[in-house]
């Protein structure tokens, strides 16, 4: 039986008081806490194996290289990548998307070409395409969202044309929790010959992902949101594509032969990994997917569903609350964005914080979503594998305080 209270104990940061109250951490969509298993691996790496990778013959360098490449293969397994050399280490989702926008985009787009994204995207899946569009004179187009924050796909066929070269879409929205039909969108995009990038920052976090089943060309996600360390993430790409692409950054590790005027590149994935990588970060991310796999993703998913159902039920009882995003729980992940009466989200967050309850308040790097709903900010509670019903109760109690002050 999956016991969130036992799982909690794996996470040292959850065992603390904040403003005199036991911490309730509901800011998981921003970043997750880290289990002791991951922290121990980081510590052991630095205490035993630390060395630069791929360049050394001595023991430590060998061990570091083996651990680093083993982590690549673990992460490849997490998303069912057919080949571990398709996994490129990046700082996170943001860098992964920028990598594609630059190393694929600059060579493949020109005036009149179109990039399709959506209003639902995180800024990290908007700005790189705006910059690319400005540089290449390509046009940036948007899929719209409806009143429940779901993508409007009725006009998908008309929006996708043979000018559409790139479709970049998140599988799960970080601001509303909407789960997008990326498989369907991918199929339609491929039908017009477009390349599909999936922003998986909120997708590969709660469950394993199958990039082969999704059928997409690129998949980007971050370690820090899935129990891993900061400063590490992954771009997965189809090998044939990666092989045709220009490098991203220049430097050590990514070269084959360097001459004064010209150089040749190492093979995939190293071509895209210039400089000393975040070795400990990669190894830690490997440990994180091990940790999640060992718990069993099906249990984690079931638990989060249960928490979501419970939270939604309890929050809907709160007077004057407005909840954004899909009303059907089937269409959402473990995120609830809301406002409460005329209390501003920052005030909600401050009041909850005094009660030890951590939620996020703001635009959640999704200003276009905020504009769509005519608000400047929302409060957001996001749940994870260690969230308990008691945590949700504490949130609801805290909202009672907000009503007392602002009611």
């Amino acid at each position: 039986m999956y016991d969130p209270v036992r799982v909690r104990r794996d996470f040292p940061a959850l065992d603390q008081n904040v403003n005199g109250k036991p911490l309730v951490y509901l800011d998981n969509a921003a970043t997750s806490q880290k289990p002791r298993a991951v922290l121990d691996v980081l510590d052991a790496y630095y205490k035993r194996d630390n060395a630069n990778v791929h360049r050394g013959i001595h023991q430590l360098s060998q061990r570091a290289t083996v651990a680093y490449e083993a982590a690549r293969s673990k992460v490849a397994g997490w998303i069912h990548a057919p080949d571990e050399s398709e996994v490129i280490w990046t700082r996170g989702t943001t860098e992964a998307i920028n990598l594609v926008a630059i190393a694929w985009g600059l060579d493949n787009l020109s005036e009149g070409d179109e990039i399709l994204i959506s209003v639902l995207e995180h800024h990290s899946n908007i700005i790189p395409w705006q910059i690319l569009a400005a540089r290449t004179k390509a046009t940036l187009r948007y899929l719209e969202i409806d009143d429940e924050g779901r993508l409007v796909l009725d006009d998908l066929e008309s929006v996708l044309t043979d000018r559409t070269k790139m479709v970049a879409i998140s599988d799960v929205s970080n601001s509303l929790g909407t789960i997008n039909p990326v498989k369907e969108i991918t199929r339609a995009a491929h039908a017009v010959g477009a390349i599909v990038l999936v922003d998986g920052a909120q997708g590969a976090v709660h469950t394993r992902v199958d990039v082969q089943d999704l059928g997409c060309d690129f998949y980007a996600f971050s370690g820090h949101k899935l129990c891993g360390p900061t400063g590490i993430g992954v771009l997965w790409g189809r090998k044939e594509l990666l092989e045709t692409m220009s490098p991203f950054q220049g430097g050590g590790e990514m070269i084959h032969i360097v001459d004064r005027d010209e150089s040749s590149w190492a093979s995939v994935p190293h071509k895209f990994e210039a400089g000393t990588p975040n070795i400990a970060g990669a190894i830690g991310m490997g440990a994180a997917v091990d940790y999640l796999s060992n718990l069993g993703v099906e249990h984690i998913e079931a638990h989060e569903k249960e928490i979501m159902a419970y939270a939604m039920g309890r929050l809907l009882e709160v007077p004057d609350i407005r909840i954004y995003g899909p009303s059907s729980l089937e269409e959402r992940s473990a995120v609830i964005s809301f406002t409460l009466g005329d209390a501003h989200p920052h005030d909600i967050s401050t009041i909850l914080d005094m009660d030890g309850v951590a939620v996020r308040a703001g635009h959640h790097c999704a200003q276009l979503v905020m504009k769509h709903f005519g608000v400047s900010a929302t409060a957001r509670a996001s749940f994870y594998l260690y969230t308990t019903k008691e945590d949700v109760d504490r949130l609801v109690d805290g909202l009672g305080q907000v009503t007392t002050i602002f009611g």
């Binding site: 501003h344 401050t350 635009h363 400047s376």
Partner: protein, 156 residues
């Protein structure tokens, strides 16, 4: 049930200004406008002043944000109508000192109603909210004084 810190933060006067902001409107004959935003949280205001000679003839603002930022700018504008530029600048500085925990500033009667915001100084992340309006004011004064010339010396 409510913590004493929260009660001192959310004083009635603040909530009242948040709900009924004073001088919240476009100012047609403005001589200077400053847009100030906190990109981190999305609070933003546009402060509009009509400066005549050495004083502020009229002050208005538009914007949106949390109770602290909106109440603070509302209260500020009530103090700016007809205020001398040097006094306005001094007010901004005094308020900023109070926000950074200066106890003499917090006791300074010249701050008037603005002292209701003293509790914000105990909430480090919210200090920026309270300062949004006054930061805009200081920028407006700098800009305007550059143009009017003369009064400058005292303002920096």
């Amino acid at each position: 049930m409510e913590s004493p810190q929260l009660s001192s933060l959310y004083q009635q006067l603040i909530l009242e200004h948040y709900r009924n902001p004073r001088n919240k409107a476009e100012l047609d004959e403005k001589t200077v406008e400053i847009h100030m935003a906190n990109p981190v949280c999305g609070d933003e205001i546009r402060l509009q002043l009509r400066i005549e000679g050495d004083h502020i003839a009229e002050a208005k603002f538009v914007g949106s944000g949390c109770s602290i930022s909106q109440a603070a700018v509302s209260m500020m504008t009530t103090r700016l109508q007809g205020a001398n530029l040097v006094e306005a600048d001094a007010l901004a500085k005094r308020f900023t000192e109070m926000m950074h925990g200066d106890e003499t500033a917090a006791k300074d009667k010249t701050l008037g109603d603005l002292r209701a915001l003293e509790g914000v100084s105990k909430f480090p992340v919210r200090i920026k909210c309270a300062l949004l309006g006054f930061d805009a004011l200081q920028e407006a004064l700098k800009k305007e004084v550059g143009e009017v010339g003369g009064v400058g010396g005292d303002l920096n």
